[in-house]
Amino acid sequence: MSVFGKIRFVIKGDNISRLLKLIFDENITCAGLSENSGTLTGQCSLKDSYPLERACIDLDLEYEFQEDKSLVSAVRWLWGRKGILVGALVGTLLVTFLSNTVLKINVIGGDEKLAEDIVDFLETKGVTYGSFMPQLDFFDLEISMKQELDQVAWVGMYDTGGTLNVDVVPATETPNVSQHRLPSDLVAARDGQIVRAEVYGGQLAVPVGSGVHKGQLLVSGEVKLSEDKTVFRRSVGKIYAEYTDKAVFECPFVSERKIVDEQEAFKQKYLSFFSLDIPLFTSSPSDELYQTDEHISKLSFLGMKLPVGIKTVNCTPYEFRPVRYTRKQATAEVYKLKSNYETNLLSDCEIKDSEEHLTVDETGVKLTVSYTVVSDIALEKEILLK
């Protein structure tokens, strides 16, 4: 197969001699010229076929040109089939792109939890599915991973095609060691009257029944063994004190409330391509507020999850509407708030007594509750030694 193309020609007519002269005069390069019974056969280059054709027309000769396979004819054939060219180009670009893109993060060594932590860590450093592999600084990532992830003892990173391999040696788990070994006191976290004391370490500094102020020493870590011998210990114990706690609960007659419209809920689908989300819908949602819930189902190939999938977003519209309460409803609402407060914030306390004061004005209902509670008020405070 020639590069620039070759033509085999058969020319018939009476003016073959004149044609030969023309071939010679116009420097048309021919090969294999042979005349037989008024028929001239031969070969010439594709470039020289044009003046030869013109000469044949001028001399009124019958001619038949047959083009041999060549690189030029192959390119011309391909040019007529642009789809193949575009497909080959797109394929080449796609292969080049995908072989330089993080398609999979493969963590070697460690358990699933560590693998998840490493993937999350890499994401914070901007390394995620679709990242451009040559831009990643593996050395820098390895150092920062070793510094910031305690569960990693050693890490090595390398790439094989579109897979980013993270070779990890997990750190050996250290036994739980108490961090509270320094000598300490127990001080009062708030004002109150001591009703009960359970001291496991240290020396009780206040008698049961006495009142204490916030910050007052309750249990001392400085224990005097004899007149000239003092040791410092960690104070451990529970000092229960009785104190009053005041809480105010309000419910205005008119207030805004979040109303979720479940019936108007709809789904929006996106084509998730690496970190890109391409909408698969045409209508744009209105300016309403939505609470959303996302779910991605990724395509998998031979058990490997690809960074391509369908992302489904469940949108539920909601709005804040003014709600008007009656006095009865508002009262019920404040008692509900009170109940929540006791359940969530006073669950560790023993409520001895509570005094309620309900006031109603034109704006709403206000409930003031004074609790008398008993709870542990001891707060550990380290002793600073020279």
Binding site: S17, L20, K21, I23, F24, D25, N27, I28, T29, C30, A31, G32, L33, S34, E35, N36, L40, G42
Partner: protein
Amino acid sequence: MNSMVEKIRKMFYMNSCISVLDNKQVLVENCKSLLECNEILVRIVAAGYIVEVWGRGLTTNNYSSGSVMVKGEIQSVSVTKRGERK
């Protein structure tokens, strides 16, 4: 006068050069035109002469201007002065 013309031709390399390779190929350089080229006879107009190549299965190639290569089974090459042909 003729010897003078011959000398000038020789001086400026205007003579035709005919190279014969076995009985397979004849190369005629410094020729002017191709008069005939069939399977048994190729006639070439060279400088002042007409070169006739006789043979079997002859084909002609002109890869460069002013030269002709005849390929095939060469039987004879005759050179006739132009205007003296019988």
